[in-house]
Amino acid sequence: MAGTARIGVDVGGTFTDLVLHDPARDLVHTGKLLTTPDDPSEAIIEGTLRVLQEAGLTPADLHSIVHGTTLVTNTVIERTGAKVGLLTTAGFRDSIEIAKEIRYDLYDLFLEAPPTLVPRHLRREIPERLDVHGTTLLALDEAAVAREATALVAEGCEALAIGFLHSYRDARHELRAREVVRALFPDLAITLSAEVAPEIREFERTSTACANAYVQPRMKKYLDKLEADLARIGFTGRLYVMLSGGGIAAVREAKEFPIRLIESGPAAGAMAAAFLAKLAGLDRVVSYDMGGTTAKMCLVEDGAPDHKFDFEAGRVRRFVKGSGLPLKVSVVDMIEIGAGGGSIARVEPGSGLMKVGPRSAGAKPGPVCYGRGGTEPCVTDADLMLGRLDAKYFLGGEMALDPGLVQRAFATGVAEKLGVKPMDAALGVQRIVDETMAAATRMHLAEKGRDPRGYTLIAFGGAGPVHAWNLARLLKIERMLVPLGAGVASALGFLVAPPATDMVRSYVARLERLDFAHVNALFAAMAAEGRKLLEEAGADPATISFKPAADMRHVGQGFEIPVPLPALEIGEGDVAALKEAFFTSYQKTFGRVVREQPIEALTWRLAVSAPGLDIRIGAATLAPASLAPRGQRSVTFETHGTLDVPVYDRYALRPGMEFAGPALVEERESTCVVGPGARCHVDAHLNLVVELNG
């Protein structure tokens, strides 16, 4: 019998974060060390041994490790993946290069298209063709498959993707092509578009297959090594990975479909917010995670983050939609904008106005106040100048900040050019970055037909609690919640994520003309596959639940909306109910219905999940209880000018304590700003709950 403790490990670009939880001992323990980019498992092993030792445990006490990684996304961004060959339907060799034919920036004459993962000379045409019903128009030329695959291997391809037209409808040509290649090259990694993303739209599906093939060899090698290293230190529990959709899965799925880990890290933050929302009984939440380079916002309703089924990876311009490679994967639907502590302020030469971000000073040289050579003022510098941060208590005092450098940087960098005082320039940086985040959040919600009023903001990440009060104010949000350990809270997501996966198949037909036997067979296949994946991911078979849905639209429309289905098996008698369900979803999304037009379904989805674990946050690291401020600081607010503000010690606060804003609450990795007019109380889970109009 393996142990009871679990560890969540997030391998980020700079740091590897670990969080250990042992329900049997009511213990939560965290750790942080530098990522080892050449072999990320080094830091995982070292970190695991360290937190175990600090908690007084051994590897044998571990029940499981849940792992999130940026390896997949970095491989795509840095273009360090495998040499991939692609077999496509003759006539469609260039689908992944022609793409959507859109300029992602209307005014840039010199913009760059995202480079394809498979260059044209490694894309080979295979005579074969199915039509929309899966009927053969042209039989598969197996000799061509053998010939082209051999040529690609001779070219040095380490992995192969196969993407044929209409394979979402019928995969038989792709399956047969794989058999032909396997017979020749039994060890070659092969990705079928119909398996990795069985959805209509050839560009996106093929692009996903190529990306999967591209990251697969490196990811497999990495996971094999990690398993071996963990075994070597005596770990006998299960290793799981975090999927982009926020579910956990077995390592086997990660090796077969590594592309599903593309948003592995960011998903954890949203799962942490969902967990906190459930714990606090909040059903309408905007999750807000602001770090050094970016801010991420996500809608969390009824305890679950929103999902979407496409994602753009490896953007040419990180924050510009349309500048990356589209992937058909289930991801937590969040927006990421270039607004973080390191975002740089500058004055535009044309208009003479100030912009903040998306360029970031990153960790090196970092903001000016770090004193590591940064000269351009950043958001963190403004936060320091406005009194939100303590020069002496940054990272718990480990790092001294230099206010003098910041003052000079603001004076010469922006204030002079704008003709304002340095303090006003700093306030301007804060106003602009907060407005930018507010606009992006409003927009994200508006696209879903939501209004931020009535939602609660859950803020975390190092910079999140610093800016949350002002962001909430701009959004007319009345309540915000900040968890204990906000700077590392996203790692909690690894421990609370449920085993879950999203299955998909496309089959296009008008509701009146549906072949129900076919639909039911699709769902039966998805259910069986989903069940197998979840059992591998440690789910109790009795607790697995299924949520079927279909993407539908009116005939003639170019976009679909998800519609929940009543059951895994449907028939002729359900058509009226399907239509009503479509109208209900349509009304919810668009605010009206059009009853006359016929309806068609395109894609069928099955969300498969089992319950996640609840964890209790222990009280081990707290200081003695006290509501006495440990000091006072001058803080400048846009709305109230400069005020003397009490500073509370986060670790001394206990459930039930209450105080009025303006106030600052400091913990090691972050500071929570409570603005004037707000009231803050500490809830039973040690969250700060701030009522803006308290």
């Binding site: 022609i98 959507k100 840039d108 010199f110 704008l418």
Partner: protein, 545 residues
């Protein structure tokens, strides 16, 4: 200049007003019924002050629309003076001369009130799925054939819909549900914009938008003037020819005069208007003249009415760039999209690092199929696809990308699911990018087979058969457009015909022009092109052919 606003507040307010236009655009996209708005990006939203001057526009739509909407609004104000507008009004038109140059685009403008006072207007334009008349084409003789024309009309008066007018309009279109659905989406977008502006004024305590509007226009104006004054003074001329409609070639003549911080773009000498649907009204001519200048000189400053104040555009009345009513204008893009190429050609000598060569995708090439599918259901589908962009001084032209418009393309699998057509190929056209130091973007070839039970109607709207996209500063032209049936016959590129089941249509989209002499091409770039098969004729691309 800043009307009492400090620079930081100005930046914040400007961003906020842009995000209001974006939110209106999101509402339009979200609630539009038809595919055309989404798939071809054919829409725009603009926030205007009480004078009808634009303050902000949405980020992603068609650039020309935001330029034209304020002009249309001023026509509305001439007919319905400011004091007559009431909350809940919505005025529409699709008049080509007052609005965007052809009937399918519907412009809708609503007033914005704050504390009972008229403070501005919210406007939207969207390409309607149908406006009656003939099937979309380029060969009509008069605008009357091209559909129903709606003069500026109060579709909604103080919140009450004029149902008779709406019924009258919808009775004249082929797909009334889709048309009314899209119109509702425009009204919704205008309402969202108006509500957000009201909220914005409440939040900021401003009484109206006028001071802010003047300040933001002044900032945009200043940025453009700074950019123009960096261009040496002088008169820069160019001519450009396109197929037009035989026997008339379209001959564009442009003189760009730069004097200090202002610019005049004059099309004196351009072809006369003709009795076919490729005439381009002055509004469209203006929009497609100032847009390429903005891209070349001042791409980063947000746009508003001030952006284009320093630029004057002239075209002789009665020319193909300023036709008199009732000229046919249905495919005015076949002429209007050429202007960017002409202007860049004129400016190439003086600002060579800021322009690109002519684009194969200017103008766009479209084939529209319409008829009945195997179930007897009516369908009408346009295959969206683009030629290649002209090469730039910094890199090869983008393949299969439209400029100056930004219509995208959809999935072939989705296309085949809604029309009885099989697309046998849609891939890059090797050797179609013009040779040069930087190569023009490649066009593409699509092969479409008719698989319907009966014959279909085919409408072709294209140019560049006889006039490929020219290179610039020594660059070579891209490949011309070609349209060929599988039996070897070539349909007229601007025609409406019938196509029989089993017939295949080969659509070859033009390549973009090259930049700089081919002899200066980096040998490694040529080797890579040969390896990837973008180029098969090495000699031609080395410049020694």
């Amino acid at each position: 200049m800043d009307e009492g606003f400090d620079a930081i507040t100005l930046e914040i307010y400007w961003s906020r007003l842009i995000s209001i236009a974006d939110e209106a655009a999101a509402a339009l996209l979200r609630t539009a019924f038809s595919t055309i708005v989404r798939e071809s990006n054919d829409f725009g939203t603009v926030l205007m002050d009480v004078n009808g001057d634009s303050i902000s526009e949405n980020t992603g739509g068609i650039a020309s629309f935001s330029c034209i909407l304020p002009r249309t609004t001023k026509h509305f104000l001439a007919k319905f003076p400011a004091e007559t507008w009431q909350p809940g009004d919505c005025v529409i038109t699709n008049d080509p001369w007052l609005a965007t140059g052809h009937l399918p685009d519907i412009t809708a403008v609503s007033p914005i009130f704050h504390k009972g006072k008229l403070v501005g207007f919210s406007g939207s334009i969207a390409h309607s799925p149908d406006v009656g008349g003939s099937l979309w084409g380029a060969d009509c003789r008069e605008v009357f054939e091209e559909g129903i024309r709606i003069p500026p009309t109060r579709l909604i008066r103080a919140g009450v819909r004029n149902q008779e007018i709406l019924d009258f309009f919808l009775a004249n279109v082929r797909v009334p549900d889709q048309v009314s659905g899209d119109l509702e989406a425009q009204i919704t977008a205008n309402e969202v914009c108006a509500a957000r502006v009201d909220e914005f004024l409440g939040d900021t305590g401003l009484a109206d938008l006028q001071g802010l509007s003047r300040a933001l226009q002044a900032r945009a104006d200043l940025a453009m003037r700074r950019a123009i004054s960096a261009v040496p003074d002088g008169v820069y001329r160019a001519t450009l020819d396109a197929d037009g409609f035989e026997p008339d070639v379209t001959h564009i003549v442009v003189a760009v005069t730069v004097a200090g911080e202002s610019m005049v773009i004059d099309f004196e000498g351009t072809s006369k208007q003709i009795d076919r649907g490729i005439n381009c009204v002055m509004n469209y001519t203006h929009a497609y003249s100032v847009y390429p200048v903005k891209c070349a000189l001042d791409p980063f400053t947000p746009r508003n009415e001030g952006s284009y104040r320093a630029i004057e555009v002239r075209a002789p009345e009665g020319s193909i760039l300023n036709p008199r009513f009732p000229a046919a204008v249905g495919s005015r893009q076949l002429t209007g999209h050429l202007l960017a190429g002409a202007i860049y050609k004129a400016l190439a000598a003086v600002i060579p690092k800021q322009v690109i060569a002519e684009c194969g995708g200017a103008p766009t090439m479209r084939c529209l199929f319409s008829g009945q599918d195997q179930h007897g259901d009516r369908f009408s589908q346009v295959l969206f696809a683009s030629g290649g962009m002209g090469a730039s001084p910094h890199r090869d032209g983008l393949a299969t990308t439209a400029f100056p418009t930004n219509a995208g393309a959809g999935s072939i699998e989705a296309f085949e699911n809604v029309a009885p057509l099989v697309v046998w190929s849609k891939q890059l056209r090797p050797d179609s990018g013009g040779a040069g130091q930087f190569r023009g973007g490649m066009g593409q070839e699509a092969i479409i087979e008719v698989r319907s039970p009966g014959p279909l109607r085919l409408s072709l709207i294209s140019d560049r058969r006889d006039h490929p996209a020219q290179g610039v500063l020594g660059g070579k032209p891209g490949a011309a457009a070609e349209i060929v049936f599988s039996d070897g016959t070539r349909p007229h590129p601007k025609s409406r015909t019938t196509i029989e089941p089993g017939m295949k249509l080969h659509m070859r989209y033009a390549g973009g022009g090259g930049y700089g002499p081919p002899s200066e091409r980096d040998p490694a770039a040529l080797a890579a092109d040969l390896k990837d098969g973008y180029v098969t004729d090495a000699a031609a691309y080395k410049g020694d052919a």
